[in-house]
Symmetry: C2
């Protein structure tokens, strides 16, 4: 089965590329209401592909937002793999910076340019092509497969969460495969064994009933911006960059030696960091390497501060209120709700009576750590090596993917422990996902298809 | 002479009001290029008034910006008084909040509503009406008078400064009278014996070459907003509200007992401060009363912080740079240039190598203290008592009026000490200057005319 599938995949690269280009022509921008029909078209396109290749059951399920595609080929006496992907894409602004039309996919050299080429249609299609390679050659898959494709990943999956809860039995599986991430370069695949969580807050300090002139009232009242800045500055030590909220690190586990060594193997160093960021110098939490600081350590970032006057020139205003957007990347086992309480307690203790304080949570995601030793994850490492000719590095993701934690919570079965989530991907750091001129590296597309073919084969004997 | 002038002023209140309304109909908004002709019309209106009442010399002097009106009636064997005022006005936005048209002056009850009614056409016209009251009844003034009216006060007088320097001899005088400020209420006139200075800066911290995703890079680089907040928070103690820039208070003189008592006599208390600001509680520099904190003590205010994201919702951006607008009200004898150096030295010592720091000065004004015992100032107190039937309180101004320091610097004569600047005014705290629905309290207008008539009489015998 395996060999025939590989042969088929290699013989059909051109036709897989054409089909992917057809999918990319559909401007399925989930955040823009005027593209609602396009998102549905992209869903139907995937459903048609799945039907055509021979899936027994293919549904396009309506939600209050964009539809979810569910397909299954089950009934074998094998483990079951749930595959997740998404067919919606980011908006294209700033449109003027695209040198090719975002929805007229174009191959140049080794790259395919289009919105969604890498995130995530290109990667999701590699999975579909792998499934097709089995079905078209053997008439069946080596394992039970369930496919779950959503159209709201770029708008934080509002309807996927209830869908998971309501369909936990239908979606039950022995492992989840997600192909929606980057490799470090075309010869360094990445197995992601966790993601950071996130707590995104707005911290608002309000004082005078209206803006005041700083000549007339300066010195008489506390300026909400002055107070806010003092509160914010109390959150992080300027030397060690430790977060100073009491209790913040209580649930943070240090890596063990093996985990540290695993991360140290990734070719992430300060030279690369300087190159990617253009910062005058790098620094961060004392005692941790760059690779650790951006992946397994929690952070605190101020994203913006509103209030007062920031236009050209000078305005001597004491603003009536000032608001900061502050987020914290969290790591296992920090709980966003507990951290919210710690944050608010800390700020309230420092806040003077001259102002009112409001702390609002506007987004949160629970951090996830995945057991990279689980057979389902180890199989991915072998599949990568067969598909790309190179072993992967093991990293934890610095960003947050709320669906991972939700999937684990909703789909883990009693007595079977946490369901393994296998996070792989075929993108590259310079794919410009979410930015103009997004591209997908075609050798990664073809090697990705073969990686998934191998993964299905390996998964069958777990 | 005095009695005839007073009688004339009382008999001509209605006609003075009509003339002021004509002046107010001219929308002389100095900051808007489309009102350039209107500012000139307002200048010509004042010049015509001065000619008509019998000034010997009346010039409308061109500048690279708006014109300056200069008039003189000299040649008497008396001291010379230089009178300053301005005929330009602030913009009217937000226009929708005006309940009457800003340039169709309307009397309602005791108030005259129009842009410029209080700041400063109404107050300047009180001076013109006082001069007219002498000239129309006695054919002369009791003292030598020079009148200097500008059309750029609301845009920080860019052309007045060189004009003063170039015309120091023509403008030479024994004292300067400025009527452009508020009383505390219609029965509490104010003699202003100084103004705070100001140093307005932009403090910019730049790090990464471009905005970064806080998931991917958070913890790896210093966030310019985090660093800026730490730097800003180092500028002021959260408990004492003392400015923490080393050397900041070195040149600040404490008030002597007499000066403290003088300020303590003003009916400024925390209840009034709470009423005017609507703040939950008042607080400020430890050890000083509210009246002192807003007038004779230096301050530090953050006016706004730009950089990153402040829109609706969340964006997990590490901004490439962040910029704060920070001003300090200065008091005698703080020097804005020296304070700039202290500020920059302090910030550079704290700023980490992970970012670049830029400190820019975008505005400055030197603080001024006026000898309130000088006969020219004491005469104003008596004139107020005669014009308003109430003695004034003595306050120092919390705002900054750069022209005061410049006038003292350019027009003080060798061997004669600092020229006394007599700062009086007939506005009220609720006149809404610079805001919609500006008004002028008409009893103050009429009492103001008589106050200036008395002042000219008193000045003659100094």
């Amino acid at each position: 089965m395996l060999e025939k599938a590989i042969t088929y995949a290699r013989a059909n690269r051109q036709s897989h590329l054409y089909q992917l280009q057809d999918w990319l022509r559909i401007p399925s921008i989930s955040t823009l209401p005027e593209h609602k029909d396009d998102v549905r078209k992209a869903a139907q396109f995937a459903a048609d592909q799945l039907s055509e290749m021979g899936f027994h059951r293919v549904d396009v399920d309506d939600t209050p937002g964009h539809p979810i595609v569910y397909a299954e080929n089950i009934g074998l006496d094998t483990p079951t793999l749930l595959i997740y992907g998404h067919f919606d894409v980011q908006p294209v602004d700033p449109f003027d910076e695209w040198t090719r039309h975002p929805f007229e996919p174009k191959v140049e050299g080794d790259n395919l340019y289009a919105r969604g080429a890498s995130d995530d249609k290109g990667q999701a299609f590699a999975v579909l092509a792998a499934l097709e390679s089995y079905l078209k050659t053997s008439g069946k898959l080596p394992v039970n497969v369930k496919v779950l494709l959503e159209g709201e990943e770029e708008v934080i999956s509002p309807n996927l969460f209830p869908y998971l809860r309501d369909n936990a039995e239908k979606l039950s599986a022995d492992a989840i495969l997600i192909a929606d991430q980057d490799m470090l370069d075309p010869k360094i695949p990445v197995v992601m064994w966790g993601v950071r969580g996130n707590l995104y807050t707005e911290i608002e300090v309000s004082g005078p009933a209206h803006d005041l002139h700083s000549g007339t009232f300066g010195g008489g009242v506390d300026n909400p911006l002055n107070v806010l800045v003092r509160l914010l500055s109390s959150l992080q030590d300027g030397g060690t960059r430790k977060v100073l909220i009491p209790g913040f690190y209580d649930e943070v586990h240090e890596l063990n030696d093996e985990e540290r060594a695993l991360i140290a193997r990734a070719p992430i160093n300060d030279d690369l960091g300087m190159y990617l960021t253009g910062a005058p110098a790098l620094d961060g939490e004392a005692g941790y390497s760059l690779a650790e600081r951006v992946s397994v350590r929690p952070t605190l970032e101020i994203h913006g501060i509103a209030g007062g006057f920031t236009g050209e020139g000078s305005k001597t205003v004491i603003p009536s209120k000032a608001t900061a957007k502050v987020s914290m990347r969290l790591v296992p086992n920090q709980n966003p709700d507990e951290i919210t309480e710690l944050l608010e307690t800390h700020l309230r203790a420092l806040c003077p009576a001259t102002v009112n304080l409001d702390v609002r949570v506007i987004g949160k995601a629970t951090p996830v750590k995945i057991n990279y030793k689980s057979p389902a994850v180890q199989a991915a490492a072998i599949a990568y090596e067969r598909g790309f000719g190179a072993p992967p590095v093991y990293l934890r993701g610095g960003g947050s993917l709320p669906i991972v934690h939700t999937m684990i919570e909703e789909l883990s079965q009693p007595g079977k422990g946490e369901i393994p989530v296998v996070m792989i991907g075929f993108g590259l750091p310079d794919d410009r996902t979410h930015a103009p001129n997004e591209k997908f590296h075609l050798p990664n597309f073809y090697n990705g298809i073969e990686t998934v073919i191998h993964y299905l084969d390996l998964f069958a004997s777990l």
